[in-house]
Amino acid sequence: MTMMTYLEAINKGIEEEMTRDEKVVIFGEDVGGVKGGVFGVTKGLAEKFGDDRCFNTPLTEGQIGGLAVGLGVVGYRAIGEFQFADYILPAVNQLISEASRMRYRTKGDWTAPIVYRTPYGGGVRGGLYHSQSTEKILFGQPGLRIVTPSSPYDAKGLIKAAIRSDDPVLFYEHKRLYRLLKADVPEEDYVVPLDKANVVRQGDDITVIGYGMVLNHALKAAEQLSKEGIEAEVVDVRSLYPLDKETLVEAAKKTGKVLLVTEDNKEGSIMSEIAAIIAEEALFYLDSPIKRLAGPDSPSMPYAISLEREFLVDEEKVLNAMRELAEF
């Protein structure tokens, strides 16, 4: 076990996989050379694996998206980085039209094993274009997987699983968690499944479902509420698409009171799909309306501190919503 940040865990996971399989290559804007990414996630990789396997691309996200697919069809495992999740938008066409459909449209003759990594999320004074949760835009594209870790342990195990997967995987990294979370992470080789939600805390009173920063808020709030005699079941969605319906539905049934938390806008977020699944498959187990706690329906996320705070779903908002639900 080594103490590692969320960021270091991702870096380590990539390093291990690049060592294990020389077909793994990684690229993106500022990913190569001595810089190793604007957040430092790819630090040391160019030095260790050479400039052919870890390299800078020109500032062209569509190209990053398509380059990965092309490498995939000739047997490489490409990891393409989008510098911010906001800048995945120029690559949406490649991700949906190409990456997510190569397998299906050839019935498996050609495949595109890819990891697209990208930092997402707000609360870093990033303003409208460095704070977004863009995963909803690519949600619901069969053929593509979307996953996100919410702990250092998952960060390492999930990136390793993503790299080994034969599917294209969109790997979202919460940029506020990069250095905020530090925990013991095994040095051994392990993977975390790409298709399983994770019940991170057991409880009988309410069920809270989330991922990323807000999941960590929920965990803290749950400890607080425990002192007040309220026990929350907390579920980390982890596999954003396809969703692990079974685990999510079970967790909803268990307490009958469900709070879905996201830092994205309320309408159209992944939490809406989870609500729909629960309303379809567990309706008669529910003792309260399915509550969603989310950002307002205004464009994410203004820069001024007053506005950013107003937008953000912080620990206090999560705590209040959990308490309110428990009291319902």
């Binding site: 190209q63 398509g66 697919v69 092309g70 069809v73 490489y76 003759d109």
Partner: protein, 328 residues
Amino acid sequence: MKQLKESGLNKEQIIEAYKHVLRGRRLDERLWQLTRIGKTSFNISGQGHEVGQVAKALAFEPEKDYFLPYYRDMTACLVWGMTSKDILMGSLAKEDDPSSHGRQMPNHYGSKEHNIVSHSSTVSTQFPLATGVAYGAQLGKKDYVTLTTTGEGSANQGEVQEAMNFAGVKKLPLIFVVENNGYAISVGIKEQYANETMAERGPAYGFPGHRVDGNDFTETYLTFKKVVDDARNGKGPALVELMVSRLTSHSADDDHTIYRSKEELEDMKQKDGLLLFEKQLIEEGYLTRDEMTAIDKELKAEINKATDEAEAMPDPTADTISDQVYAD
């Protein structure tokens, strides 16, 4: 027009080239027929592109070179190794269609067996993919060359420029082709771009660009021979603009008599590359008219047989709708 013998190809090879051209024409005529009688619901055709496509494809080594074609490249795909039956199974949406197993519309050519990478309908997305395939040659120290093509309208897509830019930076063994037939559906060249030639865009990304008359077999073949040799020898990419004609409407859903004058259509028919090629073959002593008639008969028989065989193949069954969405 250059003499055929200047190509350096021997008589047998030239006659083989003619057969490819004529097969392309006859097979496409069959596809239109099948569309008219309702056995397929769509066709988009390369009539007028055939001579250039054959000259282009013959400059490659299909056993190892990769091809990322666009929808008018049927004749080039035949040279690359696909059979008439393969093409017909695609148009008839048969389970054994090597392009997509009936999942894509007709004319979306692909074949794992022959290194022809599947393409989408969204134009030009194959360009970034082609850079990945080509980068794979550099990474793996393989000497294959990659070819990718699109139309002159589609060549204006941003992804095309991004791919060319990357290819320039990495000096990829990659040949970009723009098949310029003067129209993007109904939109003429004046409304598409203001530069003199599409070939000029090569140098703007750091590599040579050539414009060739696609009806001039020898010029086309020699131009490709040179750029393919250069690419294979590490001299980097090239762009070739292939001047061709679109003899038909854009597709089965279009009627070009609405936006093209009678004179233009008549004139184009006179300059049909197939007729010019046949004239040249006779004049330069490769074939007699009788020999051509014999070849035509032979090809028609081949295509009839292929049609019967393709029609007899099984359709995809409804229960396969969710096959190969994901790897597992």
